[in-house]
């Protein structure tokens, strides 16, 4: 409580006790109470305040800037080219074609049991965690995505309105406020929000380095766990993303074994976010957690997989996420929580048909991988031409690019200055590594699957100009 106003009256010695002290005090109290009341009426809950504040992470700032000034070859050629959103627009034409050929009038009772396909089946309340037929179709789809070698049990699937609520629900089931998850860095910036905003859970970064090709080391995991323990913080699990976002690498089988052993020893959960499993464009073999658990004799009770259709099928707008858990108690709890985040019924109906067409899905997945690879090759050869290094990766819709050569020094400050230059001068939005909690400054995530080949070249050209500006400024 600020005492300046009333004290002034006394110190100034003017007006005596009444005018010099009492009146200013009374005025001050009145204004203070009015201000408190004003604040109380305007503000949201304390826990919502940080959420209501303007988003400061460059990840979100960049996305926001692009939406205000989006590049368009014809309409806005000086706009900002989007390399900051991991969306895949390469194969939507295939699904559009499939729709044209397969779903004429699907919403309104065409063919088969009218009640089933007709609107009557989809207007009413559905099970919150998804209808059985969609779970079955999703299990089959996930199996196809993982190469057909693993089978998924539909009864272990919980469907949610996107991967965002999926991970939040899983956190609610596995951890109490104040508990923590260990997360290897660099990691998807959205985790900071999705996993901690409302749950009260914390994320402990476990740093990975370029020297290790950004693969998680068990020693680092152990150290982070011990430090948390010393602080009195309860670690409830490890979250890995595989294929990794933002690096795009695949976790080796041995690393997965080691992580599983570690989780078992510490009695903590392991969550594997495999949302990019169908976006593997390289030749490396992919080991889903499911594959490891199927093949080896690991205790499954702490294992959970996250999936969704936003990346592999490009259906981000449809809001379809998956929690796949080997733990019955977690499944039971997660199912109850889906009441807040269910998949819309017409979308469920559409997807049952789409995902059940296994021969189309097979062709789609293969074409998708090829097209991503093609764009990847164009992008990285462009980088090579301009002398910018990157991590050679096998998965994801993005490339982890080393732009430290365009910085004067290795610091986060320089990295953010470069980000700003890229965004506002070169008009290219890439995600700086610091937004992904990367311990090494200078790395940027560049997504290339929303652009045409020509636009990728324009983006590379713009980055080249920044590189030249940097060379000449030295």
């Amino acid at each position: 409580m600020r005492l300046v106003v009333p004290l002034r009256g006394i110190v100034g010695g003017r007006g005596g006790l009444i005018l010099g002290t009492f009146v200013p005090c009374a005025l001050f109290c009145y204004l203070h109470i009015r201000r408190l009341r004003f604040l109380a009426t305007r503000r949201v809950s304390e826990r919502a305040e940080p959420i209501a504040k303007a988003e400061e992470s460059p990840y979100y700032v960049g996305l926001g800037r692009v939406s205000q000034d989006p590049f368009d070859e014809v309409a806005n050629p000086n706009g900002i080219i989007q390399l900051g959103l991991s969306e895949n627009r390469l194969c939507l034409d295939l699904i559009e074609e499939w729709l044209s050929e397969n779903l004429t009038g699907a919403m309104i009772g065409h063919g088969g049991d009218k009640r089933h396909l007709g609107i009557g089946g989809i207007t009413g309340y559905q099970p919150h965690d998804g209808v059985t037929e969609l779970k079955e179709a999703m299990a089959g789809f996930m199996s196809q995505v993982m190469g057909g070698e693993i089978s998924f049990d539909p009864s272990r699937i919980v469907l949610t309105a996107g991967a965002t609520p999926a991970i939040e629900i899983l956190c609610y089931c596995l951890a109490d406020p104040g508990d923590a998850f260990l997360v290897p860095t660099p990691y998807y910036p959205g985790f900071d929000r999705d996993m901690t905003w409302r749950t009260g859970v914390e994320l402990i970064p476990v740093h990975c380095h370029s020297a290790d090709n950004f693969i998680l080391s068990i020693a680092a995991l152990q150290q982070a766990f011990n430090q948390a323990r010393k602080r009195g913080q309860r670690v409830q699990g490890i979250l890995i993303s595989n294929p990794s976002n933002p690096v795009g690498n695949l976790l080796p089988q041995k690393t997965l074994h080691d992580i599983l052993d570690f989780a078992r020893n510490k009695n903590i959960h392991i969550i594997s976010d495999e949302i990019f499993a169908g976006s593997i464009h390289g030749n490396e073999e992919f080991f889903s957690l499911a594959k490891i658990l199927d093949a080896e004799n690991f205790d499954k009770s702490r294992a959970h997989i996250l999936y969704g259709l936003s990346k592999d099928l490009s259906l981000a707008g449809f809001r379809v996420g998956v929690i796949y858990s080997y733990n019955d108690d977690v499944l039971a709890a997660a199912k109850k929580l889906t009441r807040f985040s269910s998949v819309s019924a017409p979308t469920q109906r559409l997807l049952i048909s789409l995902l059940s067409d296994t021969s189309f899905i097979g062709r789609y997945l293969e074409t998708n991988r090829k097209r991503i690879r093609k764009m990847y090759d164009i992008f990285v050869s462009g980088l090579k031409e301009i002398g910018v290094k990157y991590v050679d990766s096998s998965g994801g819709l993005y490339c982890w690019v080393d732009m430290s050569g365009l910085m004067h020094s290795h610091s986060v400050k320089e990295e953010l200055e470069l980000w700003d230059k890229l965004l506002n001068v070169a008009k290219v939005n890439a995600t700086p590594g610091s937004a992904c909690h990367s311990i090494e400054p200078g790395w940027f995530r560049c997504c290339f699957t929303t652009l045409s080949e020509g636009n990728i070249r324009i983006a590379i050209e713009r980055i080249r100009k920044v590189a030249e500006m940097h060379k000449s400024s030295r």
């Binding site: 209501a52 779903l103 919403m107 007709g118 099970p127 996107g162 089931c173 596995l174 709890a333 109850k336």
Partner: protein, 486 residues
């Protein structure tokens, strides 16, 4: 309170372990009875009739017809598939602009133009369930409380409290004044809460009321709004039944009252949904409409946890913008609800059963006090078990709505066809006449063994009418799924 050792070693969170989901409550016995033995007109005519599900199925043929006649609205038709790419990739949490505009316009239309809505204040969420939880997250911290007039929708206990940690303080409305909410009751409840050092953040009104099926009058709303303004409390109005009004008095929204009464708009928020008014609960369309910019901003960011599928947004944007259709739909929907309501009320009246004079909603508030052994909650539960077991109707006992007066039951009437209504009324007729025939031993059923025992008969999916599947209340795991594993 759990021992520390349990928490220390538990693999599950407290939320996952505790009963905050409310599904262990005995009130779900009715649902279980229905799920195990669901009524079907031809295949299971002796099954339990579902009258505990507040779903509007009376007008879906109008929706179906509109969709048939407007193929461009659906991305699954040759006429509409051209929009597929843009729709599929659209995940902006602001929502499709045309969807927000259509919702704003629709909400204004439902309020007969007495209030208009700004599309930029429309925030999406996962059904009304998601909308109400998200709003509470934005307005209140753990331990804060909201006053709620009872009887109220049972799932509020779960939806508004489970993850948010917020408290609900019910204040009772009773039959002495036809369950009307009064300012005096609210003032008294507020005073008691303050005395008990509870941090009251706001008030939640459901208007039209679930389970009562009545509107709040303009005068009452005005006085309640003034009270919240005076005490600096949030006013949350759940208006999800606003278009189910079938008789006067016409619906008055808080949006209308705000224009004529001194208030602080930053404290006023509306929850809306298409689940009841349009009969589209499967679409999961929940809306938060707040007059507080910070709340809009915050809720919009949180809407990432429950965005509406862009496919559904796209379809509904078209449908709700079709003013001719909407006009016809709202009128016809009201008419059908009114007709159905009258039929059921009349049928009950013939058996000497009265209902609260209702004018809205998908249910009626039935008075069975005269059938209670004694005016106690236990007697109400006893009667309820008889209704489920012998009369084979799943109605909802008033105690599940926190009604302080035993003997009232909520009966849903809009989730079935005319034939099923007649079967239900016939069963009530038979039950009442059986009771009358027994003279002195008038309530002989009271002496019977009233324990519910369930047969091991499996729930055959073919017996379930596709319109009577799941509700937000049912805790029973989807039986077909259980079957698939055995």
């Amino acid at each position: 309170m759990e021992p520390a050792s349990v928490r220390k070693h538990s693999l599950l969170s407290m939320i996952a372990r505790n009963g905050g989901h409310g599904e262990h409550s005995p009130y779900f016995d009715g649902w279980k009875a229905y799920d195990r033995n669901p009524f079907h007109p031809t295949q299971n005519p002796d099954g339990v009739i579902q009258m505990g599900l507040a779903e509007n199925q009376l007008s879906f043929d109008l929706i179906e017809e509109w969709i048939k006649n407007n193929p461009t609205a659906s991305i699954c038709t040759p006429d509409g598939v051209g929009k597929f790419k843009d729709v599929a990739i659209f995940q902006d949490y602001h929502g499709l602009p045309e969807f927000r505009q259509a919702i704003a316009k629709f909400m204004g239309r439902v309020r007969r133009g007495k209030a208009t809505f700004d599309p930029d204040r429309i925030v999406m969420s996962g059904g009304a369930t998601g909308a109400s939880e998200t709003l509470i997250f934005c307005l209140a911290d753990r331990g804060d409380a909201f006053l709620v007039p009872s009887p109220y929708y049972p799932a509020f206990d779960r939806d508004l409290r489970w993850r948010t940690g917020v408290r609900l303080i019910p204040f009772a409305c009773d039959s002495t004044n036809n369950f009307q909410v009064t300012l005096a009751q609210m003032e008294s409840a507020y005073a008691k809460a303050i005395e008990a050092n509870i941090n009251v953040k706001g008030v939640i009104l459901t208007n039209p009321s679930n389970p009562l099926g009545i509107n709040l009058s303009k005068e009452t709303l005005t006085s309640l709004l003034s009270f919240t303004f005076e005490k600096n409390l949030h006013m949350v109005c759940d208006e999800i039944y606003s278009a189910t009004v079938f008789k006067s008095p016409a619906f008055t929204s808080i949006a209308e009252v705000m224009q004529e009464t001194e208030c602080n708009p930053d404290l006023v928020h509306i929850i809306y949904s298409l689940s009841k008014d349009m009969g589209l609960p499967g679409f999961r369309v929940g809306i938060i409409y707040s007059y507080n910019d910070q709340v809009v901003n915050c809720a919009r960011k949180m809407s990432s946890f429950g965005l509406i599928s862009s496919q559904s947004q796209h379809l509904l944007a078209s449908m709700l913008s079709d003013e001719v259709f909407i006009e016809k739909f709202l009128e016809e929907n009201s008419r059908r609800l009114g007709k159905r309501h009258s039929r059921v009320v009349e049928g009950l009246k013939q058996e000497g059963i009265n209902c609260l004079e209702g004018n809205a909603g998908l249910f009626l508030w039935m008075d069975l006090r005269h059938l209670l052994k004694e005016p106690t909650p236990d007697a109400e539960m006893e009667l309820w078990r008889v209704i489920i077991k012998d009369v084979k109707l799943n109605v909802s006992p008033g105690s599940s709505f926190h009604c302080p007066e035993p003997g009232f039951f909520r009966v849903c009437f809009a989730n079935m066809d005319d034939h099923t209504v007649e079967v239900a009324l016939q069963r009530i007729r038979e039950f009442v006449s059986k009771g009358n025939k027994n003279g002195d031993d008038k309530k002989h059923w009271r002496k019977r063994d009233l324990r519910l025992s369930f047969t091991s008969r499996k729930c055959d999916e073919s017996l379930i009418s596709p319109r009577q599947i799941m509700s937000p209340h049912s805790p029973v795991p989807q039986s077909p799924l259980v079957r698939a594993r055995t």
